[in-house]
């Protein structure tokens, strides 16, 4: 049943999200809504100002002043213009002051920190995201990658860090961006107000594959979130078919294990994304490919063609090994 749901409903969800699943114009959290309101305030104000200036300019151009005017009349026109310009400057000051105040209050509205917030630690890597769910009891702390699940309506506090260069975490639908800077701690706080799947993308140039550094944010009901969390804490599912058993052997015996962790197996590398539940994630390769067996095999077979310059090497595997390991990995839900 759930498999059916996943297979049929998910693509629909994705399609529905197409219009704006990475858009600042489609706010789905309190912070983004605040910014959305501010955006329209600024846009409308600025639009009016621009239109007025253009109209006056047009008037100045289309006006046909008398060819020769007496000196005193010209003087009067000059003085009148002076007053108009002075008034316009004063109006500018007022508008600017108003907008400054509006953005000041918007900042205050957003940066409220909640004591009961869900704490998630995010680390940016070249070119993927590590996600660590914090918990008071350490054996409920778990690590996943490139996918962030958040419970609907609960304040969340994202602690942002960088593992190598500067990255910037940005889910336009949920909040404004915040940089991840080596040697510094940054925090992003918001409360998701609508369930759905959103896309985050690195917004600070971070090298070769800056373009392919995305993260899925899944906002779901607290119940769904709780179930998901329980799944994530568990170790990887045991392989069932012979092919999957062979796949695990490949994972443990080949270069995979030197970089990736699959909890419950001998693979405990920490250089690449944690693969314990990779099959349950929507995408692989930081948002580049869907998690299907074919895409998984394609990615393992030739990561450097799909995402040139990324740190996953092209590991020589036989066709059988490739089949087996991709079959095993997509089953790790």
């Amino acid at each position: 049943m759930s498999a059916f749901l996943l297979r049929c409903v998910l693509p629909l969800l994705l399609l529905a999200g197409c219009s704006g699943w990475q858009s600042a114009l489609d706010p789905r959290a309190d912070a983004a809504q605040e910014l959305h309101g501010l955006f329209w305030l600024f846009t409308i104000t600025c639009g009016i100002v621009w239109a007025v200036v253009m109209l006056v300019l047009a008037g100045a151009l289309l006006r046909r002043p008398a060819a020769a005017r007496p000196e005193e009349e010209r003087g009067r026109a000059e003085r009148r213009s002076g007053r108009v310009v002075g008034g316009a400057v004063a109006a500018t000051v007022l508008v600017i002051a108003g907008l400054t105040l509006a953005s000041f209050f918007a900042t205050r509205g957003i940066s409220a920190d909640h004591p009961e917030a869900l704490v998630v630690r995010l680390r940016g890597f070249q070119w993927w995201w590590e996600v660590t769910y914090d918990d008071p009891s350490p054996n409920w702390v778990f690590i996943t990658a490139n996918e962030l699940h958040l419970p609907l309506g609960r304040p969340v506090r994202l602690e942002l860090a960088a593992a190598d260069v500067i990255h910037s975490f940005w889910v336009p639908n949920l909040a404004g961006k915040q940089d991840m800077i080596p040697g510094r701690d940054n925090v992003l706080a918001f409360t998701p107000t609508q369930a759905g799947t959103y896309r985050a993308q690195c917004a600070e140039f971070c090298g070769l594959q800056h373009a392919h550094m995305a993260l899925q944010v899944v906002v779901e009901t607290p119940e769904e979130f709780g179930r998901w969390r329980a799944t994530q804490v568990a170790a990887a599912a045991a392989p069932e078919s012979a092919e999957e058993v062979a796949g695990r052997a490949v994972l443990e015996g080949k270069a995979c294990a030197a970089c990736h962790t699959v909890r419950g197996t001998a693979a405990a590398g920490t250089l690449g994304p944690d693969l314990t539940h990779v099959g349950g994630r929507r995408n692989i390769a930081a948002g580049m490919l869907p998690t299907t067996r074919g895409a998984m095999a394609a990615w393992i077979a030739d990561p450097q063609t799909i995402k040139p310059g990324n740190n996953m090497p092209m590991v020589p595997l036989s066709a059988d090994e490739l089949q087996a390991v991709s079959a095993y990995l997509v089953r790790l839900r």
């Binding site: 009891s137 350490p138 054996n139 702390v141 690590i143 294990a257 970089c259 909890r263 590398g269 920490t270």
Partner: protein, 596 residues
């Protein structure tokens, strides 16, 4: 190889060569020390045995502050084995046993003969892999003598029993697997027909354990881990948790992130103690792996603390988490002492444990209760111990976080004390060979690849404020403060011998010193040809005269292939040992002294 046996003419012919070696390897400037080295090297290589035996006036045969000045070098025994000699020789009156660094050779020297002929020797099979598992003067196996049998732990994970009389092997078992980074760093402990031993390998993410073998056959009786579920740790009905929280089930799993305990370290690499009276064994557990704390959130039970276990079953009685969630890779494996004496007016059965974290812990060894914990070296990472919870009061500014550099942490990994301390009841002083070092620590990502380092930290050590990188601390146990300290230029790595009002120890730059146990005054010293990492031993020779033996050999010769331009070399020691002159004699040498 045994110079005592060489004719003098050979000695003369060696002299210029030796001088040339000294010239070339020590570099400038030529200070007092270098001269000392040179003399020692010449002595080691060229002197015939029984130096000056005829001239010394007759004197008392006991080693005392009064007689120590008469100590004379009896003979030297050069093994040519390179490497750090960490295991003290053993003597049983007639025979002196010595175990060379890995790949080991075991020598039995006949003390009855004037030039100490080799009675037998034994070279166990060696798995070269283990060589890359030991660093920086860490222990390399060990031996103990019990009931005419010699029990040996080899670095590459073998435990064997030999007949002490003729070196005939009785049994040999494989107890540790060097391919995973596991090794045996210390001597096995014979206790009540059992042989207790523990593994080492915290820096490789090896899960620590302590095991008991049948001393007669080598069969394994029990083995219990330092991490994991209660059944595997030996926690059950008999366990008396000292602090709230430790009464919960499976703390060895629950106080770790999922699966992290499997590579969690906590090796039992230090000495194990047995209290025959209570039937309890005591041992420390090593630091949790990896060093980077972010990858092992939680308390990380049962690493970096002290265990009391029942000898028969290994079941845990109590556990003192000395360095809960050990931030600095200290571990609690430094050697302890069991003392039965008055404590603050009442007789107590004490366990005294100078810990790597720089505090001397005094425990009631029946209950594990901490009676006192006072610092014996400069400490800034913590502000004392809360006796109610046993926890250290940490300084948040010295916290270690991944991707950050934390500066100036005192004491430095691997701790304020690594060698064995000694106690003299008559002075009431504990003699602690301390390391006065601080460090800058940078935590970084640790990647687990079986058989390779699993640390995730860059260390850069430097001397603590004050005089010297090490000090011998004469610690007043009752008062909980030092009675005196003798500063040392280099960190003290070997153990201390306390006997007859004397404290004897060796230094990294090869000086063997004897101090007055009451005042700390240096009464006698001797310059060896190599650094000393092992504990000196004193015993009465076959002739009834007191003898003093020490094994020199710091493993610091050219074959060490250490380039100290790298401050992180040797786990950060590279930065403090830049001034340490290289030993002119890279081989392990036994120096035997005796009172005339």
């Amino acid at each position: 190889m045994r110079l005592a046996a060489l004719p003098a003419v050979v000695g003369h012919s060696i002299t210029p060569v030796a001088a040339a070696v000294v010239d070339r390897e020590l570099g400038q400037p030529w200070g007092f020390r270098v001269t000392g080295w040179a003399v020692a090297a010449l002595l080691a290589m060229a002197l015939p045995g029984n130096v000056g035996a005829a001239e010394v006036p007759p004197a008392e045969k006991e080693l005392t502050p009064a007689s120590v000045g008469q100590l004379r070098l009896a003979f030297t025994f050069r093994t040519h084995h390179p490497g750090p000699a960490t295991q003290a020789p053993l003597a049983d009156g007639k025979t002196l046993f010595l175990l060379t660094p890995f790949p080991h050779t075991l020598y039995a020297l006949d003390l009855a003969t004037p030039d100490a002929t080799v009675r037998w020797r034994y070279t166990p099979e060696a798995d070269g892999t283990a060589r890359g598992r030991s660093c920086c003067g860490e222990g390399q196996g060990g031996m103990s003598l019990e009931g005419g049998r010699l029990y040996v732990n080899t670095l590459d994970g073998r435990t064997l029993a030999l007949d002490a009389a003729n070196g005939a092997p009785a049994w040999e078992v494989r107890t540790a697997d060097p391919s995973s980074g596991e090794s045996l760093a210390s001597a096995p402990l014979p206790a009540g027909g059992k042989l207790l031993l523990g593994n080492a390998g915290d820096r490789f993410g090896v899960r620590g354990w302590i095991a008991a073998l049948d001393a007669g056959t080598g069969r394994r009786l029990w083995r219990l881990h330092s991490t994991g579920e209660d059944a595997e740790v030996g926690i059950g009905a008999g366990f008396r948790p000292l602090y709230p929280g430790d009464d919960r089930a499976d703390r060895g799993v629950a106080s770790w992130p999922p699966s992290a305990w499997q590579q969690g370290g906590g090796g039992v690499s230090g000495p194990i103690l047995w209290d025959a009276g209570s039937g309890l064994v005591f041992h420390g557990t090593g630091h949790p792996a990896p060093l980077v704390p972010d990858q092992r959130q939680g308390d990380n039970r049962w690493t970096s603390g002290l265990f009391a276990r029942e000898l028969e079953t290994g079941r845990a009685r109590w556990f003192d988490p000395l360095n809960s969630h050990d931030l600095y890779g200290l571990g609690a494996t430094a050697s302890s002492l069991l003392l039965d004496r008055d404590w603050r007016g009442a007789p107590r059965r004490l366990l005294v444990h100078p810990d790597a974290n720089g505090h001397v812990y005094v425990l009631d060894r029946g209950t594990g209760e901490i009676l006192s914990a006072e610092p014996f070296v400069p400490v800034n990472a913590t502000a004392g111990v809360d006796l109610a919870t046993g926890a250290l009061r940490r300084d948040e500014s010295k916290a270690v976080r991944r991707g950050r550099m934390t500066r100036d942490i005192c004491p430095a990994s691997p701790g304020a004390v690594t060698g064995a301390s000694a106690f003299l009841p008559e002075t009431g002083l504990l003699y602690i060979p301390s390391r006065r070092l601080c460090m800058d620590m940078e935590a970084r990502n640790a990647n687990y690849i079986r058989g390779t380092g699993f640390t995730g930290a860059n260390l850069r050590l430097r001397p603590a404020d004050g005089e010297g990188q090490g000090a011998l601390v004469g610690w007043d146990l009752e008062a909980g403060r030092p009675a005196w300290t003798v500063p040392e230029r280099f960190p003290l790595s070997g153990g201390v011998l306390a006997t007859g009002g004397l404290v004897v120890y060796g230094t990294l730059d090869g000086v063997l010193k004897a101090l007055d146990a009451r005042s700390g005054a240096v009464l006698w010293q001797f310059q060896a040809a190599s650094g000393i990492l092992s504990r000196p031993v004193a015993f009465r020779g076959p002739d009834g005269h007191a003898q003093l033996a020490v094994l020199a050999g710091s493993g610091d010769g050219p074959e060490a292939e250490i380039d100290r331009r790298d401050a992180s070399a040797e786990d950060g020691m590279g930065n403090v040992l830049r001034d340490l002159p290289r030993s002119p004699d890279p081989g392990v040498t036994l120096y035997m002294f005796r009172l005339p």
